[in-house]
């Protein structure tokens, strides 16, 4: 982070009680300091604009750093507006970017990095020392002012290093924003898919309930044994349990999303559109995925900056390795017999034992380690991209197959079973089971659809960048999933 700790501050000062001496020293030093260092005040924005820019390249949503108490009210208001009506995925991401507290805490890293950046541009304060020694003869007064010039020599290097570190922190913060957006997307699709699949499961439960009721009526009329009636009842009971379990799962997923969105109290009662969006008919062709990921991944960019920091530190340390202490000052002395002495003062360390060799070796090891870590990260990133892309394509193919092959087969089975029922060749239980199987197949379709969208979000995360605009999900679906409340007669 900040300048290597080998730069020590020197505190050797001699000075007289003469005001003019102090003024002169001070002014000289102040001049030199002002010339060398930059502005010493801390800007409020702390580089957040750069974060916003990096985020804007990847997301449509806006990031905002809420630092004032009065801004909190505006954020709450904005979130409430977004929560109105159905919660879309874009709205969910926006709410998270505004409202997620961990992200807001992350932004404070910028402030901290900013202070480090400013600190690196500050020179050490000169040191004033006074000595007043009384003897039997008289009083000896010695006044000194000294400045550590090593930190002046290394100032620009320190500032470059701090600027690089600041950029690294900005990149890391942007990466956190991107990561949060990805988590929100995945969890959004999970909840949306869960809800839609749950509705279909309710229909299945309704079918088993009808079977159980028919069995009960049959038993009362004397046409079904208690054993067979009990079997039907068991299927229904099991289905009820399955439903309860899925409802619990759904609740847990909703809460995970609430955590990501920072919602609590009455705000957790949001509802999503009833259907997941349909996939695009064909996937956009994506080229150079791995190369783009290497370019765009924020964690890789941050890792590069870390390497740069270590390299800069290594260079600076190598440059000044033999110079451990270097102080220049001015001393004024009034002896006890009234003589006035003045003159410059110089101090530096003699590199007899420590020539910085251990320090250099340490930095070299750290540099190599950081480089290997970055290489490893690049390998992982490439693999992540390939994995995500494969899953994206595979789930899309499965969706097509389910929709074009499997769902129509189940529809045909229900139809043929209905024909058999019409001819008293099959019974109503067979018909209900055929319907349940069809609905279960539709549930599997929904779950695959959910997996497809999650795979697309994961691919974006692996890329570190959004996919092309044409890969954005379209509006609500026209999928032929059996909606049990429609009497379309389309058998």
């Amino acid at each position: 982070m900040i300048v290597a700790d080998t730069i020590k501050k020197q505190v050797i000062v001699n000075g007289s009680n003469s005001g003019e001496v102090k003024r002169g020293v001070y002014s000289a030093l102040a001049l030199s300091v002002l010339v060398i260092s930059g502005c010493a005040s801390i800007p409020r924005e702390a580089g957040f604009a750069d974060v916003q820019q990096q985020v804007a390249k990847r997301l449509d949503q806006k990031v905002q750093w809420t630092r004032e108490a009065d801004q909190e009210g505006a954020v709450t208001q904005a979130v409430r507006v977004l929560l109105q009506d159905e919660l879309t995925m874009d709205e969910a991401v926006q709410i998270a970017l505004l409202n997620n507290r961990a992200l807001q805490a992350e932004y404070e890293r910028l402030g901290i990095a900013q202070t480090d950046f400013v600190q690196a541009g500050l020179l050490n304060n000169p040191v004033f020392s006074a000595e007043i020694l009384n003897s039997s003869i008289g009083t000896e007064r010695t006044f000194s002012v000294a400045e550590d010039f090593l930190n002046i020599f290394t100032l620009s290097a320190r500032k470059r290093l701090a600027a690089n570190s600041f950029e690294q922190v900005k990149t890391q913060v942007s990466a956190q924003v991107w990561k949060l957006a990805g988590e929100v997307k995945s969890m959004y699709y999970t909840v949306n898919g869960d809800e839609q699949a749950l509705e279909l499961l309710r229909t299945v439960v309704g079918a088993t309930e009808a079977s159980a009721q028919l069995a009960q009526l049959q038993m009362q009329a004397g046409t079904l044994s208690r054993l067979n009636q009990t079997l039907q009842q068991t299927f229904y009971a099991q289905a009820v349990l399955d439903l309860a379990r899925e409802e619990t799962e759904l609740n847990s997923h909703r809460e995970q999303l609430n955590r990501l969105l920072g919602l609590w109290g009455t705000d957790v009662a949001w509802h999503m559109p009833p259907r997941l969006a349909e996939p695009p008919a064909t996937l956009p062709p994506l080229e150079r995925l791995e190369a783009r990921a290497i370019e765009e991944r924020l964690d890789l960019i941050a890792a590069k900056k870390e390497i740069d920091s270590i390299a800069m530190t290594l260079d600076a340390s190598a440059q000044y390795r033999v110079l451990s202490i270097f102080g220049i000052g001015f001393t004024v002395q009034r002896t006890s017999d009234g003589e006035s002495l003045r003159g410059p003062r110089l101090e530096f360390g003699l590199p007899l034992f420590d020539q910085g060799q251990a320090k250099i070796a340490l930095l070299q090891s750290q540099l190599r380690a950081a480089q290997q870590r970055m290489n490893g990260l690049a390998v992982d990133i490439r693999s992540q991209v390939r994995t995500a892309r494969h899953r994206w394509v595979a789930t899309h193919d499965q969706l097509k197959y389910r929709r074009d092959v499997l769902l129509p087969l189940h529809e045909r089975i229900v139809q043929e079973t209905q024909f058999r029922y019409n001819g008293m060749l099959a019974g109503v239980y067979d018909l209900l089971i055929a319907k349940q199987n069809q609905i279960t197949s539709a549930r599997a379709y929904i779950q695959t659809l959910r997996d497809f969208w999650i795979a697309q979000a994961d691919l974006e995360q692996a890329l570190g960048m959004r996919l092309t605009a044409s890969a954005a999900p379209p509006a609500a679906s026209t999928l032929p999933i059996p909606a049990p409340s429609h009497a379309t007669g389309d058998l």
Binding site: L217, Q418, L431
Partner: protein
Amino acid sequence: MKISRRDMLLASAAMLVGAPAVATARTASAPPRTSQPASKSGAETLSKSARYTPVVTPNGSTLPWHMDNGVKVFQLIAEPVKREFAPGMVVNCWGYNGQTPGPTIEALEGDRVRILVTNNLPEPTSVHWHGIFLPSGMDGVAGLNQPHIPPGKTFVYEFTLRQNGTFMYHSHSDEMLQMALGMMGMFIIHPRTPPAPHIDRDFCIMLHAWDVDPGTYTPNPAEMLDFNMWTFNSRIFPGIDPLVMRLGDRVRIRLANLSMTSHPIHLHGHNFHVTGTDGGWLPPSALWPEVTTNVPVGSIRVIEFIADNPGDWAFHCHKSHHTMNAMGHTVPNMLGVDQKDVAKKVGALLPDYMAMGESGMGDMGMMQDMGMPLPENTLPMATGNGPFGPIEMGGMLTVVKIRADIAPGDYRDPGWYQHPPGTVAYELKEK
């Protein structure tokens, strides 16, 4: 009124199905025929050379022959055939000369017959002449009496008929399968001098059973017990021709059974006597009266009665499932089950659903009238309408139609019986 037998015979000259025309060309070289429409039991011209009352095979035909040096030559072509069991159901069967059952062979006692059997099946076959006394090598049990007839080849069976009566012919090579697919027919041998009393109408009915899974087109030959289609001459009611007769006719019906179970055949409105089997004729003193005769497997029962009760009379197998078409035997029993509330729930899931079975199976007719679709190539369980409503039967059922105003030799369907007033069961009206 006494009519001479000769007059009767001549009168019956202008009749009947399957006239054995005297053909000049040898039919053995005729190209194999595929599916032919089943001929009706209407009249066809009878050659003057006939000397007997020819039998009528409802929904069937009689095999033509030609004379070759004193030998009556017949041609049977064993081939796959498509048989319409009733409108709406066509089955891939194996039969003879385009039909199952094959054409009825009709000859005289004493005839020397030569039967050419051409095999157009995909596997070897043979023909056994059930109940007929003949040389062992002509008996037709492939492997035992003769080599199997290879596909594409023609074998010749030749023997002299030394008896008269009612017999059958059927495959005896891969017998179980070939019979299950319909390879059978009737073989009638008339006496040279028909004994009194004279038979006015003589019908042949081959009983059979098939397992045709709903939605399929080919019988399952491996089925042993669970058959679902029951036929008279490979037809199903209402696709079975009625047996039309004049009031007062002496009627003979020859029932042959090559299915896997017996069939108690029942006639309404009359009683009859069993006068013969495939073993021979019963002496008159041995006849006993019946309204139902059980025809065992591999047997023939010949019944005779006087059609003295005018009207439309059901004639059917009395095993009630045999007058039903394909049924689901594992369908849940909804008798007495009030399904109203649950039916709504089910209807929400399945828009075409209608609750059935609460008050019996009569709903089926209503379902069909409403056009509820069935699996393809599947007949409703019971169908066919009579003049007073749905008859609610299928399978082995036909109607004996006795009318006073039918001309001799006229086998055409006279329509429904016009009941004399006061002879129809009526509803008692409240005052």
